[in-house]
């Protein structure tokens, strides 16, 4: 019913600025069995844009960004990443995954490999770069996230904040054009959140296209170009951070912001 109405204007916007679009989602639906997780998602993300997605748990925000690198499959609609449409074509999926980095809530570092090996694995086996070059790149990014001295340790020997910074560096080693963050600070002790946010802020300042699921509203306020609020599998409201926080339009947005900002 609402599908036709909302799709038409979005598509026209997309076609005018298509060269500058990093991610385009048109009428995307997803079900887990009977459960309708994503309902008619229309979203276009421009190159260099920083987007923060928030919403109550179970609202489909993680599922949304996991569809972008095909960790989840959508059942209806189109997702176009850097001009490539996500289909069942395995080769296309691999191409897209190479261009899209992802940082997970629980870091998901490879525990049997050293930090350096974690960082060089994909460049060696996917991009097929020489080992010396891969290691040089890895050290460059470890220096960026300020832990070059941990290169030869194993993930289990690092603190949570350090592990998450390694995970960000691991993604960056593939030179992605888009970075997805799936609640990157939710599993961290409070005193470690800032060290990870600092890295993300510096990434944003360099013009990386970022989509970030997070509850760090301070981060959203200072860094985001656009804040998206989701509930029940739908995008309820989206706006620039200033008006989004000071003047939310939708009842559910107000309720959610009230809950997470006042305690």
């Amino acid at each position: 019913m609402s599908t036709e109405v909302s799709e038409t204007p979005r598509e026209s916007i997309a076609s005018t600025a298509s060269t500058n679009v990093a991610v385009q989602m048109i009428g995307v639906h997803k079900w887990y069995g009977q459960f309708h997780v994503l309902k008619d998602i229309n979203l276009s993300v421009h190159r260099g844009e920083r987007i923060v997605i928030c919403g109550p748990s179970g609202s489909g925000k993680s599922t949304l960004i996991r569809c972008i690198n095909r960790l989840e499959e959508h059942q209806q609609g189109q997702i176009i990443v850097e001009g490539n449409e996500l289909t069942n074509d395995v080769k296309k999926i691999d191409e897209i995954r190479r261009e899209v980095g992802m940082v997970f809530q629980h870091f998901n570092l490879f525990p049997h490999l050293t930090v350096l090996e974690n960082l060089t694995l994909a460049p060696l086996w996917v991009r097929k770069v020489p080992k010396a070059e891969a290691e040089a790149t890895a050290m460059k990014y470890l220096e960026r996230v300020k832990i070059p001295e941990q290169a030869l340790k194993f993930p289990g020997q690092l603190s949570g904040g350090q592990q998450q910074r390694v995970a960000i560096a691991r993604s960056l080693c593939m030179n992605p054009r888009i970075m997805l963050f799936d609640e990157p600070t939710s599993a961290l002790d409070p005193e470690m959140i800032n060290e990870v946010l600092d890295v993300m802020v510096s990434l944003a300042e360099e013009g990386m296209t970022m989509m970030c699921v997070t509850h760090e509203m301070g981060f959203a306020r200072t860094v985001a170009d656009r804040v998206i609020f989701m509930d029940g599998g739908e995008i309820i409201e989206q706006n620039e951070p200033e008006p989004f926080f000071s003047n939310p339009q939708h009842e559910r947005t107000k309720e959610f912001l009230g809950q997470i900002l006042h305690h």
Partner: protein, 400 residues
């Protein structure tokens, strides 16, 4: 001390019988005394009983003639050989069934374990049925089943099942061609060795090249060509130059039985199939649990980096799954080795059957024979454990 003046450095001590350190010493002393007493009683009792009945103890019997035949001996053996030879033949037969069984059970177990996790409904269901069937039926029943219900009803030698006139199957065993080599095989052998050495060098070179340039080289494809293809070519070439480099001794029906060739006795086949199939069901479960123990986040992280499923399995999942699989695998290898002693029920001549069975009955040297047999099983098990523990330590995770 005696008047309880505090010395500053040591805290006040409780009375000695309420001090845990004293108590543990006392408990250990009591336990040790009990073990020594029981052991001394058993040894003394045995020695005096043997003396009363006139049984000579010692290992002299090992050089006496055994006087019975054994249906499978990998070292020269006849009825005139000694009990020492019986021991050796039995030991080799046990090691043979254990080694071959471990190899088959491992291969079958890994295949079924991975199949059980397949997303293909038919494959995973078949694997589940296999596991639930074979691990829930007693092993002895399975050995008897394969021997009496599958192999014994096979036709006799005259009505053998015949594969291309070279392989024969009947109730006396499986008759295979016995390969014999002549001089023309030498070049084939040289090329084969060169192929293996070359492949190892190729692998090293390709690793170095990957480190230097990032290029991957299809080592497996070229290695297969060097190890299989080239020797086959030389084999064909030599056949033209100087006749076939290999001749096969093929079993022939003479009278009531086959002669020549190589025969695998049905007792060995039944025991091998039963042990492998039974143990594979447990190994499959170990493999499945090992793979499932690796968090799904690991796969997702690798996929998100653009790593394909096959390298993800090889570089990320298997190395982590092995840490869970190895200890269970060790247990299954030990179980298979010890279970091979059920051979006695179908008269496969393993160590227990020929040494602890026939030899013990004939000589009456119970203490010596039981001790030797137990020592052998203990040694095999400890060596297996030691090797597997070493491997496990090598691949274990480093945590803080």
């Amino acid at each position: 001390m005696a008047n309880g003046i505090p010395t500053g450095a040591t805290p006040a001590r409780a009375v000695w019988w309420r001090d845990p350190r004293w108590r543990s010493l006392i408990y250990q002393a009591i336990a040790l005394a009990a073990v020594v007493a029981v052991g001394w009683y058993l040894v003394d009792n045995t020695l005096s009983n043997m003396e009363r009945r006139g049984i000579t103890s010692g290992f002299d019997f090992l050089s006496n003639t055994a006087g019975f035949d054994i249906i499978q001996a990998l070292v020269p053996y006849s009825a005139t050989s000694t009990y020492g030879s019986v021991f050796l033949v039995g030991l080799i037969n046990t090691l043979l069934i254990a080694a071959v069984g471990v190899v088959f059970a491992t291969m079958l177990g890994f295949i079924i374990g991975v199949a059980r996790l397949s997303s293909n409904w038919l494959i995973s269901t078949l694997a589940t049925i296999y596991i639930e069937t074979f691990r829930n039926i007693p092993l002895l029943l399975q050995i008897l089943f394969w021997y009496h219900a599958v192999l014994k009803p096979l036709p006799g030698p005259r009505e053998s099942i015949n594969f291309l006139d070279v392989i024969f199957v009947n109730n006396r065993g499986l008759y295979l061609p016995l390969p014999g080599f002549n001089q023309a095989f030498l070049p084939v052998f040289v090329v084969l060795v060169a192929g293996i050495v070359g492949t190892i060098m190729l692998r090293r070179w390709s690793r170095k090249r990957q480190a230097a340039t990032g290029q991957l080289f299809p080592v497996v494809r070229w290695g297969l060509f060097a190890i299989l293809g080239l020797p086959a070519l030389v084999f064909v070439l030599m056949s033209f130059i100087s006749g076939p480099p290999m001749e096969f001794g093929i079993a022939k029906l003479t009278g009531f039985n086959f002669e020549g060739g190589m025969v695998v006795i049905p007792e060995f086949v039944a025991l091998l199939v039963a042990l492998s199939v039974y143990t594979a069901a447990f190994i499959a479960e170990a493999v499945r649990s090992g793979i499932q123990a690796v968090s799904h986040g690991q796969t997702e992280a690798a996929y998100a980096l653009g790593v394909r499923p096959a390298p993800t399995m090889k570089l990320i999942i298997i190395p982590q799954a092995m840490r869970v699989i190895i200890p269970q695998l060790t247990n299954q290898y030990l179980n298979l080795t010890k279970n091979s002693s059920l051979a006695v029920f179908i008269a496969y001549p393993d160590l227990v059957a020929v040494f602890m069975g026939t030899s013990l009955n004939q000589t009456g040297q119970a203490v010596e024979i039981v001790a030797m047999t137990m020592a052998i099983y203990l040694t095999i098990s400890l060596v297996t454990s030691a090797v597997m523990n070493w491997y496990n330590a090598r691949i274990s995770l480093v945590e803080r």
